[in-house]
């Protein structure tokens, strides 16, 4: 039942203001793609176009190569978890889960069997007779997931499903989502503004800004070498320093930073060139050391104890650099260096060149 989803140049505007412009991507059958972007970037509009709840102004939506752009929502065989869940408050857990089956006219015995199966899958046994308001936030989320998959949907859409949950519940429910997806091997589009969630749950990532796709690719590939500065920032790379390109090899690029030279990985999409460039890296891939070591020198301006990980800020001629480190091993050492000259070491193979 699972199917491949493809969007081709989908655009949608509201009152002349573009919400989504020329969005194209493909999710292979049985895979999870996270559609990631800040609030108001067009993620939910894209999702509703796929669901058939709004019509695109142009472009097409294809399920297994078939154009379904004008097919009514009810006939698309998709399940969806809405941002505010949209559970039917007057129906019990099992009635909510049975709703898509009853709406499609399935017979009672097959409905009962399927409901029992899905309730077991999302671990809601014993709660079948309860109403949504009698459940916790996490349990309500499971009901919404169960309802989305009960009618053997070929595609499941999840619209910010964890947005309203606290961190502990987020981890629990995301694990349920991943388990259910693996068990059913259902193609899934997961919309979120949280890069940690997106990276945790997906096989593929699509990053969106102001109605346009900025980057699409495998999750690990995109996380480790994002193709644009905006995507890199959104995926957690907050430090940017200037460099000079000295030479370019097949897999490496030799750059100089503050007079020192180093080899960094050559991005797949990077075209050869010389001159000034930018290097981006995550705080996790750099650490503060004494002033005789490290690639960059600067003054330690701020140090924050953050539980297991500390956060340090260094002001250098290349700009502000944020580093993290282990609180237990480094905090006392760095406390004595606050306001003094320090060095910053950066893992060159984790640096992204633009």
């Amino acid at each position: 039942m699972t199917m491949e989803l493809e969007l081709r140049d989908v655009s949608k505007a509201y009152d002349g203001t573009a919400a989504v412009t020329n969005v194209s991507f493909r999710i292979p059958s049985g895979k999870v793609m996270a559609l990631l972007g800040p609030s108001g970037c067009g993620k939910t509009t894209t999702l509703k176009v796929i669901a058939g709840l709004i019509s695109p102004d142009s472009g097409s939506v294809l399920f297994d190569g078939q154009d379904v752009t004008r097919v009514p929502s009810a006939s698309r065989n998709i399940g969806m978890v809405f941002q505010n869940l949209a559970l039917f408050p007057n129906l019990t857990v099992e009635e909510n889960v049975a709703f898509p089956l009853e709406a499609r006219g399935r017979d009672r015995s097959s409905i009962d069997l399927r409901v029992a199966e899905v309730v077991r899958l999302v671990e809601l046994q014993g709660l079948e007779k309860r109403y949504p308001h009698q459940l916790s936030g996490g349990q309500q989320q499971r009901v919404a997931i169960a309802r989305a998959i009960s009618a053997d949907a070929g595609l499941v859409l999840l619209d910010e499903p964890l947005a309203s949950l606290d961190p502990a519940l987020k981890s629990e429910v995301s694990s349920v989502i991943r388990n259910v997806q693996r068990e059913l091997n259902v193609t899934t589009l997961y919309v979120t503004h949280d890069q940690t969630e997106a990276v945790l749950i997906s096989d593929f990532l699509a990053v969106m800004f102001v109605g346009r796709l900025d980057a699409v690719g495998g999750t690990r590939e995109l996380y480790e070498s994002p193709p644009t500065e905006e995507s890199a920032r959104f995926l957690g790379a907050t430090n940017v320093i200037q460099c000079q390109i000295e030479s370019v090899a097949e897999h490496e690029v030799l750059v100089s930073v503050e007079g020192a030279t180093l080899n960094v990985a050559r991005p797949r999409w990077w075209s050869p060139g010389r001159g000034a460039a930018k290097l981006q890296f995550r705080p996790d891939d750099s650490y503060v050391t004494d002033s005789t070591k490290g690639m960059v020198r600067g003054r330690l301006t701020n140090l924050m104890y953050g539980g297991s990980r500390l956060v340090a800020r260094v002001s250098s001629d290349l700009g502000e650099i944020e580093c993290t480190g282990s609180s237990s091993t480094q905090y006392d050492f760095l406390s004595g260096m606050l306001g003094k000259e320090v060095g910053v070491s950066i893992d060159p193979w984790k640096m992204v060149l633009f």
Binding site: A74, G79, N84, A86, F88, N90, P100
Partner: protein, 546 residues
């Protein structure tokens, strides 16, 4: 080309229920009024001193009713919105009671209060040791004005209380911290916030007084209004001209109210509310409490007089001489017109009430359901259903009489025409209760049902109707209570063997059988209040639309 044609068909089908409803209940009857117009007569009437005097007197009466209603309401609304004390909810409910009691009952209370041997004259005679009545205002415009103030002051309190409640305490604090005195703070914060609410309450009281029907008939004496004249001249061609003038004026009022309501809505949305409750222990609190208690007692007096009269063969100095159900027992043997007995009238009223309530709820659910998937249809439905809010009921009744009573359907003399007339004025109320509940379902729930393959009918039966069931029941009760106490349509279409409870009350008052009228009013009050209380338990919106 074919697709465009199909689009028009779909669009026409989408609007069809609304067009049929509006056409049947309002447009066709009004067209009949227009069709029966004598243009020469209309042109002559526009400059006729009689019509000018009538219009002027109606407007003057409405204006005189409005000013005291709003002014007297301001301190109470402020008190109820800002002060907190143990019995505040009870005080509010008691104060608002006259507005939720049928107008006929309050008006009979006025007769018992303001008559030559009425309670006020008894008190004044005792105080002044005078052997003759001290005041003599019954059967004049003054009596109509006093009755309207009694009836509409609670309405003004309700609207103004919302206004005071919407004032953000932070703004008052900010004004005072900035060094503004009490007067400057009041002008800068309260007045700015209150003006739309003051205007809304004044406009509503003015509009309702302008189209008031039973009060001028019962206590106006020789004083008449446009609304009453349309009824009085209903068998003559001049009534169509009067109805057209009244329709134009009341439509203008309705549109002004709608425009102001939108403005109020915007204000309500933009205001961040933070309220602090004040204690009644200081002198201002005590003064406001005393004032509110006094006004509440005065407000309840006419209702008390009717109830006291109903449970006693006579009253001594407005206290029941003895408690007895003799008036109720006498109702069973009384002739309520052309041999009609109380049981006949009660059964006719209840039957009409049930049919009107069922039909109004069905029509409302259908109209709101049709509009629920299309924002454009929803807005047009809401606008059309808001227009009859303060439209002239006499004019509409005249149109229905000309159109369905004698023209198209020949229904005059049948209970069906009362049902049609009452549905026309009750659907705007029931539809608002249902729409408020429907809106709360949320678009996501409907989209979820659609996405999971449910048809519109399946979603209606499985999700929407169960979710709005309390509002549907509340609407039924509201429609039933409105029908039981409705007088304009019932009076227009009652015949010798077709009489409702309010029409009988007026007949009994005309016959000076105040004891029987009070008993009958007592029964109507109990039915109406019980239905309204149950309705308010089921839906927050129910009492607001009254």
């Amino acid at each position: 080309m074919a697709q465009r044609g199909q689009g028009w068909v779909v669009l026409a089908l989408d609007y069809l229920p609304l067009v049929l409803f509006f056409g049947f209940f309002y447009a066709v009857p009004i067209l009949y009024v227009l069709a029966s117009l004598n243009l020469t007569e209309l042109v002559g009437l526009l400059g006729d001193p009689y019509v000018l005097r009538l219009t002027g007197a109606t407007a003057l009466e409405a204006l005189l009713s409005t000013l005291p209603s709003v002014v007297l309401a301001v301190p109470i609304a402020y008190f109820l919105s800002r002060y907190s004390f143990k019995w505040s909810k009870m005080l509010r409910n008691l104060l608002l009671t006259p507005f939720f009691v049928p107008a006929l009952a309050v008006t009979e209370g006025m007769i018992l209060m303001l008559g030559e041997r009425g309670a006020v004259n008894q008190i004044l005679e005792a105080l002044l040791h005078s052997g003759t009545p001290v005041i003599n205002i019954l059967y004049s415009m003054d009596a109509v004005v006093v009755a309207h103030v009694f009836y509409y002051l609670p309405l003004a309190v309700m609207i103004l209380e919302q206004g005071f409640s919407s004032v953000d305490q932070d703004l008052i604090d900010a004004a005072q911290i900035s060094g503004a005195g009490w007067l400057k703070s009041f002008k800068a914060v309260y007045l700015n916030q209150l003006i739309p609410f003051l205007s809304a309450s004044a406009l509503l009281v003015f509009a309702f007084s302008f189209i008031s029907y039973s009060t001028p008939i019962l206590v106006g004496g020789r004083f008449s209004t446009l609304e009453v004249e349309i009824y009085s001249t209903r068998t003559r061609s001049v009534s169509s001209s009067l109805a057209l003038i009244q329709l134009a004026l009341t439509l203008l009022l309705s549109l002004s109210i709608l425009a102001l309501r939108d403005r109020l809505y915007v204000r309500g949305k933009t205001v961040e509310r933070r309220r602090t409750s004040l204690s009644v222990s200081n002198w201002q609190g005590k003064a406001l409490l005393g004032y509110s208690l006094a006004i509440t007692a005065i407000e309840l007096f006419p209702v008390y007089l009717v109830l006291a009269q109903s449970v006693s063969p006579s009253t001594v100095f407005f206290f029941p001489s003895s408690l007895s159900l003799v008036n109720f027992a006498n109702l069973f043997s009384a002739n309520l017109g052309f041999g009609l007995k109380f049981v006949d009238v009660l059964l006719q009223s209840l039957a009409i009430g049930v049919v009107v309530a069922l039909s109004s709820v069905a029509v409302s659910v259908f109209l709101i359901w049709r509009g629920s998937r299309d924002e454009r249809i929803r807005r047009i439905t809401a606008a059309i259903l808001s227009l009859p809010l303060s439209i002239s009921r006499s004019s509409l009744a005249l149109g229905i009489m000309l159109c369905y009573g004698f023209g198209l359907l020949m229904l005059y003399g049948s209970w069906t025409i009362i049902v049609i007339g009452q549905i026309a004025i009750i659907v705007p109320l029931t539809a608002r209760v249902i729409e408020a509940s429907w809106t709360r379902i949320g678009a996501d729930v409907r989209q979820a049902a659609e996405l999971f393959g449910a048809s519109r009918i399946f979603t209606l039966l499985k999700v929407e109707l169960p979710l709005i069931a309390p509002a549907v029941l509340a609407s039924f009760l509201l429609a039933f209570s409105s029908s039981i106490s409705e007088f304009t349509m019932a009076n227009f279409f009652s015949t010798f063997n077709l009489v409702t409870l309010p029409v009988s009350v007026v007949s009994l008052i005309d016959l000076r059988r105040m004891d029987l009228a009070a008993a009958l009013n007592g029964i109507i009050i109990v039915i109406v209040i019980a239905a309204e209380v149950m309705s308010s338990f089921l839906s927050d919106e129910a009492l607001r639309v009254i």
